[in-house]
């Protein structure tokens, strides 16, 4: 309904002044850090591998994490000696239509710490990074039966953009969820197309003979 949805800043708080450069946010005892190096990769894979229905090779993890280290955010529980309790892995690049798109590839949270907003915090922080680098939208796929995931993302403003039949190897359909970060007219592909049109119009205008030229002769 008109003006019904309130836009508020929720999610984790920013890093404290005495936090290291890798820390990107906090919520209670949970500290959220950017990916550091290969030494974390084994734990990340172990955490994600448990929950995912699809098999990923180590190259897939490296593709994301090495390509977009600031879009890989890890949750550590300071009350449990900095145990890794959650991770999100994303990327950002241009779609076929040249829209700058953030993609959430993987999200996993320690099963003993569910429903403590760790998942939504990780997603929120990742989207904030995407906004900071100028993404037009954030996208992910999830099984249509994964009600918990859909609730999490829809509570953050994601909508179901498409239904993908038999998307997963287990034959289950998927929803492509999308969070639109910019209005249509501000998206990269639209801005680029508009700029192209303006440049073409300018070239055309410049190539036309001026109105006074004929009069002068």
């Amino acid at each position: 309904m008109a003006a019904a949805t309130k836009t508020v800043a929720l999610g984790p708080e920013p890093a404290r002044a005495d936090d290291g450069p890798r820390t990107v946010g906090r919520r209670g005892s949970i500290r959220y850090d950017y990916f550091k190096d290969e030494s974390e990769l084994g734990s990340i894979i172990a955490m994600i591998d448990k929950d995912l229905s699809e098999p990923y090779s180590i190259y897939t993890y490296r593709y994301f994490i090495r390509g977009w280290p600031k879009l890989c955010i890890i949750a550590y529980d300071e009350d449990q000696e900095d145990k890794m309790v959650g991770v999100i892995v994303c990327k950002a690049d241009h779609s076929r239509r040249q829209r700058y798109r953030g993609y959430i590839a993987m999200l996993a949270v320690d099963t003993t710490l569910r429903r403590k907003r760790i998942g939504s915090s990780l997603v929120t922080l990742a989207i904030r990074e995407m906004v900071a680098i100028g993404c037009d939208e954030a996208v992910l796929e999830t099984e249509i039966t994964n009600k918990a995931a859909m609730r999490l993302y829809e509570n953050l403003g994601f909508y179901r953009d498409k239904r993908l039949c038999k998307y997963y190897l287990n034959g289950v359909d998927a929803f492509r969820l999308k969070l639109w970060l910019k209005d249509v007219s501000d998206c990269s592909d639209v801005v680029a197309a508009r700029k192209q049109q303006e440049e073409a119009a300018a070239v055309l205008a410049a190539s036309r003979p001026s109105a006074g030229a004929g009069a002068q002769t």
């Binding site: 008109a2 019904a4 309130k6 800043a9 098999p55 897939t60 953050l156 909508y159 038999k166 287990n170």
Partner: protein, 771 residues
């Protein structure tokens, strides 16, 4: 490694080079987390990489536990040939379940060929049993005469000396094993061949997407269309052998021959039907229709459920294992195989045959709009890719005619006539040129309806920009056609506004707008069916939907109104003695044509029904819109608190596909916000209005369901919509009763959408307020 120097250098495509030295050197320089990779290493390449020995990815991982088919046969875990006709009966039904799974997108190797009996190694074991018997049978068959010339016919001599008067009989040497092997071989061969012909149908139709059907055969054999006559001959052989076995009184064949004969009959009919449907220009479709009708009678007899009284032995079940082809499937990540439950498979089988019968009946469709409606109904049944592919072949035959007989141009011209374009405009070259221009776009619309439901929505979003172009072209052609058909009138540029309004109507433009709105409404309602809408966007969807429906009705009404006014003006002109006789005659002739056109429109049942449906649905959406706004106003629908995006951004993106169009004009967010601003309304007023609209919808539906000329499908839809309207009305009444009461302490109100009539293809929601 691209551009590598030294011994290896940059390799040519397809030439192996040893890169050990280069990779070794690069690895020496790697830091922690470093990776040697080709430039442009993409996500697709990383996803396709297999980690060897990973059980999640490496299909061949548990090699120790794997026994290939040769081992299983050698150990007697699978017996070839089958031991009894009862086993064959059970096996045939199980293969049918997997065949349907293959149609549904499962890998051939994991579905049909999960049956060991069909595998080439097993079939080759049967050949020695069959060879001699088949030859003896063939020798006994009457020669099939070659097409004779007239002179050969005149001097025809007696037939060859084959004795075809006696039925085929078995000899003592033809053991039970030989008989079972022969019949099995033929039945399994016919299954393989029919899968091959089905594959040909799908490839020729060329509408499948990766989720519809997997074209990978992994080298497993399938038949070709040219194999059909030979396979039918073999089926005849098997049927004769069964008859002979029964006649011989052998115990092993008492009681079950008939069932196997029916399996064989089904396969013969199925092969013949597909073969007929592949003939050019749908020449064989009327024959195929009869064959499908015969197959429909066999559904209870040969379907998966027909063997539910048989208790399979363990050795029978051992012949079904998708793991048999683990080595073949090792290059792909492990996928879930078909579930193979009997009841759903029986239903799928019955639906498959019924869908084929429906597909055959489509060829008798005469008008474009009727075909559109028929395909809309057909698509809701979610037919298999085999059926959809054949319908595609019907829609675009080798001579580029629909159903081998209708030119799309002519179809479009007829549709323009049905819409209300007068004959004096239709006769212009401009109108014909527009119809030619519209052919591809109209064909794309029909093709879109043969995609799966999720793809249809995406395809419509891709079609709408094309229809924007259709509208632009239509306006141009309207202009040109009008000028040509009315030479006595001033040029359009010289006409006053009143003259324009009186004389000019964008007929072709309005026709294009009507089709555009049809596509948009289909796109919108598919969103409900596919469960795409968040409850928070229902108000926008309802609002846009009811507006589209209003514009659909207004668009058609404008054309009808213009035609009536034109008729009045022409009638006056025909009777105006001050005009030249030629002008009077011309006006009179146009009157006749226009009167006939208006009469035809009033009696065009399809258009009248469509109008009724749109009116009812519009009332329903109007009611639902007021209901959800009323609930929001009453605090039963708290808005989500979001950090990212805004209502406006989400609205604009959701309805972006509609923004390409000139007609209907895109409804901006500001209009939606203004109309649905809760501050303009009282809660009770909103809910009461909701009830009013829903009651109007209910009343109109009640009369519609009693109207004559309603088909069973239409009645079922209206009945389903009726239930939705009643349920919503009940919920509105409940909301009215509780609207003034405060919410209980700690209550977390929310609103849900339920779809109780989805099975009747009615995807209008029932809105339920919960606490």
């Amino acid at each position: 490694m691209d551009g590598g120097e030294g011994e290896g250098g940059e390799g040519e495509r397809g030439r192996w080079q040893d890169a050990t030295a280069e990779v070794g050197a690069l690895c020496e320089a790697l830091g922690l987390g470093g990776m040697v990779m080709r430039e442009g290493f993409t996500l697709q390449e990383s996803m396709n990489a297999l980690e060897l020995m990973s059980p999640k990815m490496d299909t061949g991982m548990n090699a120790d536990a794997y026994e290939d088919l040769a081992h299983r046969l050698a150990k007697g875990k699978i017996r070839v040939p089958v031991e009894s006709l009862e086993e064959l009966d059970w096996v045939a039904a199980q293969v049918l379940i997997r065949e349907l799974a293959w149609h549904d997108g499962h890998l051939l190797a994991a579905s049909v060929y999960a049956c060991a009996h069909l595998c080439p190694q097993t079939q080759s074991l049967l050949k020695p049993f069959v060879r001699d018997l088949f030859k003896r049978w063939q020798d006994q068959q009457p020669d099939t005469p070659a097409p004779a010339s007239k002179s050969e016919k005149r001097s025809a001599t007696a037939n060859t000396a084959k004795d075809t008067s006696q039925p085929f009989a078995l000899l003592e040497d033809d053991t039970d094993e030989v008989v079972l092997a022969s019949v099995s071989f033929v039945l399994f061969t016919s299954i393989i061949k029919s899968c091959g012909v089905a594959r040909l149908c799908i490839r020729r139709g060329d509408i499948y997407e990766e989720e519809d059907w997997s074209s990978q055969t992994f080298g497993l054999p399938l038949g070709e269309n040219s194999d059909v006559p030979g396979t039918l001959e073999m089926i005849n052989f098997a049927q004769d052998v069964l008859r002979a076995a029964q006649a011989s009184g052998r115990k092993a064949f008492a009681g079950k021959c008939e069932r196997i004969a029916q399996h064989l009959l089904f396969r013969a009919l199925y092969l013949q039907a597909l073969h007929e449907m592949l003939r050019p220009n749908i020449e064989g479709w009327s024959t195929a229709e009869k064959l499908w009708a015969q197959m429909a009678e066999l559904v209870p007899v040969v379907g998966p459920a027909s063997v539910s009284d048989i208790e399979p032995q363990e050795r029978w079940k051992a012949a079904f294992d998708a793991d048999i082809h683990r080595k073949l499937l090792a290059s792909a990540p492990p996928r879930a195989g078909p579930t193979c439950e009997t009841a759903p498979a029986q239903l799928a089988f019955a639906n498959f045959i019924a869908d084929m019968q429906t597909a055959c009946a489509l060829r008798n469709t005469d008008t474009l709009f009727a075909m559109y409606n028929a395909l809309m109904r057909f698509s809701r049944r979610t037919p298999s890719i085999v059926v959809r592919s054949l319908v595609m072949l019907m829609l675009y035959c080798e001579n580029e005619l629909a159903m081998g007989r209708i030119a799309y141009e002519g179809w479009i011209m007829d549709d323009l006539q049905a819409y209300g374009v007068p004959v004096h405009l239709r006769e212009t070259e401009e109108c014909r040129n527009y119809a030619k221009f519209a052919v591809k776009h109209m064909y794309d619309v029909l093709r879109m309806l043969l995609a799966n439901r999720a793809r249809q929505r995406r395809n419509i979003a891709n079609l709408l920009p094309d229809w924007a172009a259709m509208q632009q072209e239509a306006e141009l052609y309207d202009h040109m056609a009008f000028v040509k058909a009315n030479p006595s009138l001033p040029r359009l540029e010289d006409m006053t506004r009143e003259q324009l309004r009186e004389n000019m109507h964008f007929y072709m433009g309005s026709w294009a707008t009507e089709w555009t709105i049809r596509l948009m409404l289909h796109h919108l309602t598919l969103g409900f069916e596919l469960d795409l809408y968040n409850i928070n966007e229902y108000a926008a969807v309802f609002w846009y939907g009811q507006d589209l429906m209003a514009r659909f009705l207004a668009n058609r009404d404008e054309t009808t109104k213009f035609n009536m006014e034109l008729l009045n003006r022409l009638t006056r002109s025909a009777e105006d003695s001050s005009l030249p006789k030629k002008a009077q005659r011309s006006a009179a002739a146009r009157c006749v044509g226009l009167r006939k056109l208006i009469g035809e429109q009033k009696t065009n049942i399809a258009l009248v029904k469509e109008r009724l449906c749109v009116e009812v649905e519009r009332l329903c959406l109007d009611g639902l819109l007021r209901f959800v706004i009323g609930l929001a106003k009453a605090g039963r629908f708290p808005p989500p608190q979001l950090e990212f995006g805004s209502d406006k951004i989400r609205y604009n993106h959701r309805f972006t596909p509609y923004s390409y169009l000139a007609m209907p004009r895109f409804l901006p967010y500001e209009s939606f916000a203004q109309v649905t601003n809760m501050e303009n309304y009282e809660t009770r007023q909103l809910l009461e209005n909701a009830a009013l609209f829903l009651e109007k919808a209910r009343s109109l539906l009640a009369s519609a369901m009693k109207a004559p000329n309603m088909t069973d499908v239409e009645k079922a839809y209206f009945k389903a919509l009726f239930k939705v309207v009643i349920s919503n009305n009940v919920n509105v009444t409940r909301a009215l009763e509780s609207v003034d009461k405060p919410l209980p302490e700690g209550a977390r109100p929310h609103v849900e959408a339920q779809f109780p009539s989805a099975k009747d293809s009615c995807f209008f929601p029932v809105i339920v307020s919960k606490e």
